[in-house]
Subunit: 374 residues, 2 copies
């Protein structure tokens, strides 16, 4: 396993109403110093994590905290999307209240997107709000889901239908944790990093292009910069639009098709990032129709470097269209798409015809056919 | 039944971060105009209420809304504290999502404190936040619980242990709804009105003294002023301290003993207001020890006019003390008390000895003995 420079990089989320919190890229060993710095009082703290993360990294987190005088109590939940449920939320409530917490007891969400969303929602609602520290352990969580305050659980009728906007006091991303990620999980994260580059940072895109082979193999020396720069895109968007009334929607680039792909294929067949990568190809095609000056081939070719092996069998356009129309992000039955007008510049439109969507999906299928053919 | 003047009175909650919403005392018939005024788009709206309120007032609310082009859908829950549970919360989630809502669908909490807290929490967490309209139907909810954004449910380990701070878009109090309240519920509300006067409004206290007999019998012509003035105390406190970090605690005047009384007696034997009234007597006694210039007899005598018939059997001091110490409002095991330094001026202290507490409770028992004796 590589070692990663512990030189920490820091962003700050400064919301318009005055709330602000730091976002740190650094080694887990320095986390307790940051807990002090943001003003948490050492004492009890609750760690919510899953079985996979616990097996790999919980001992390190626990001993690090204990060395600084914390009394951590860990709740280990099953890994996987199924855990984002009212049942497991209730389990966190029971465990936290049985163990004994007060309004100053921090809750550390130590895991990927599922744990971040679920434990974040528990923190939002226990005693009407505990101090929340996000310690994301996947690339996708580090650059995206742990930042911005969206928390929640799934409901039988759809994903993320129950939740709250609740900002953490600190987001703390340790790049070394990513070295143990399964390969597909890593690829899924890279897809989100590419998304951030496309919608908000042309320099990051060039960085990815220039160092792709090294990054793809998780070369430790590039991870902190990669993470910090991809985080910055999310921070900029969230600062301008905490509640997703407008700009924040651009983070859904590739997600209209992406969510539909996940739904039609059945959750689990594609990772979220894989589905979003395919969705981004479609969104780029739609963007290029409107903005011919877009460097279409260049943008697509980075996405196509993602090693996505799953075949697209069964993903017919009509099934995808049906699935898009039940997506909760479509307000009052109008489909909204995020498109690019230039590299690093995204916008939202609802002026996309069914014919164009079908052509865009046809383009994705062809690209895949070519990719598999080579 | 009396009729009440529909001349509406309006406060505004203007929070430091710029959020603001109106608090209106007016007839239900004018509610739809207010929904327009705060910018809600007519269409579907969800009403959450309980069986008691539904039987008395739901038809009026429904037809009023329909007359203005709304499509209301009512969810009617059992009445009582038991309803403030994860089970019923989940029932609201299921019903709302099955019926079909989007992020602009308003949720009207139409009931007393239980419905306001529960439905408010559902609104806070459905699709990460629906527009919430509080339409309180009890005196205690109109002047206190519907204002300020506290929402939540109970847990097996205690009341209100799960919840969120979530501000409504509108609080709309119709005084005529109070005319159908059961007598003890009315008395309970009057106790909270007296509390508001004691901690924040000497004029309101004088108003209550001057018109006590008329108010006690719910003379319709005085209700709007009574409600509006008692609301104003809550509004002032909430505006200064949304998250209960300091000042907001003064709203707990009488509540340390009050909660203990409810817990020891078993929920339901005393109404919340009855328990708080007894708690206020104890708090006044403690206040008078420190501030001899306080018009102690005058303040106690208004509280003693509340018709509280329940005997205090079994409420021994040692049981009450134990119950106080598990109250979640006690941070890090220190008991905090709200005391008065003058009529209309409250503060929080943790410098109260067990001996004093015992003497204060002794005073309450004696007062009751005298009251029952007359």
């Amino acid at each position: 396993m590589h070692t990663v420079s512990l030189h920490s990089m820091v962003h700050e989320v400064a919301l318009p109403d005055g709330r602000r919190y730091p976002i740190v890229v650094g080694g887990l060993q320095a986390l307790p110093e940051w807990l002090d710095r943001i003003g948490l009082q050492r004492g009890r703290c609750l760690i919510v994590t899953d079985e996979n993360v616990a097996a790999l990294h919980l001992d390190l987190l626990r001993t690090t905290l204990e060395a600084f005088g914390w009394l951590p109590h860990a709740l280990i939940l099953p890994a996987g999307e199924e855990t984002k449920s009212l049942t497991h939320l209730s389990q966190i409530y029971d465990a936290a209240l049985a163990w004994g917490i007060d309004r100053r007891t921090p809750l550390l969400a130590f895991g990927g997107g599922v744990i971040g969303d679920l434990a974040g929602f528990a923190a939002a609602t226990l005693l009407r709000g505990l101090p929340l520290v996000q310690v994301p352990t996947t690339l996708i969580a580090q650059v995206d889901s742990a930042i911005g305050g969206k928390t929640g659980i799934n409901h039988a009728r759809g994903k993320n239908l129950i939740g709250a906007f609740y900002q953490p006091e600190l987001v703390y991303a340790d790049p070394t944790l990513l070295l143990t990620l399964p390969e597909r999980e890593w690829t899924s994260g890279l897809a989100e990093v590419i998304k951030h580059a496309l919608i908000g940072d042309a320099d990051l895109f060039a960085f990815l292009e220039a160092h792709w082979e090294v990054i793809r193999h998780r070369a430790a020396e590039l991870l902190p910069q990669l993470i910090a720069q991809a985080m910055a895109v999310k921070v900029r968007v969230v600062v301008q639009d905490e509640r997703e009334s407008g700009l924040r929607a651009i983070l859904n680039f590739g997600h209209t098709f992406g969510h539909a792909i996940e739904r039609v294929a059945g959750y689990g067949r594609f990772t979220h990032g894989e589905a979003v990568a395919l969705g981004m190809l479609a969104a780029l095609w739609l963007s290029h129709q409107r903005h011919p000056e877009l460097p279409f081939d260049r943008l697509c070719s980075l996405i196509l470097k993602l090693p996505i092996a799953q075949p697209l069998d069964g993903l017919t356009f009509s099934l995808l269209l049906d699935a898009m129309q039940v997506d909760k992000k479509t307000l009052a039955s109008r489909l909204r798409f995020v498109l690019l007008q230039a590299l690093g510049k995204a916008y939202v439109t609802d002026k996309v015809s069914v014919g164009e969507l079908q052509a865009a999906w046809q383009f994705v299928l062809e690209m895949r056919r070519l990719a598999v053919g080579t």
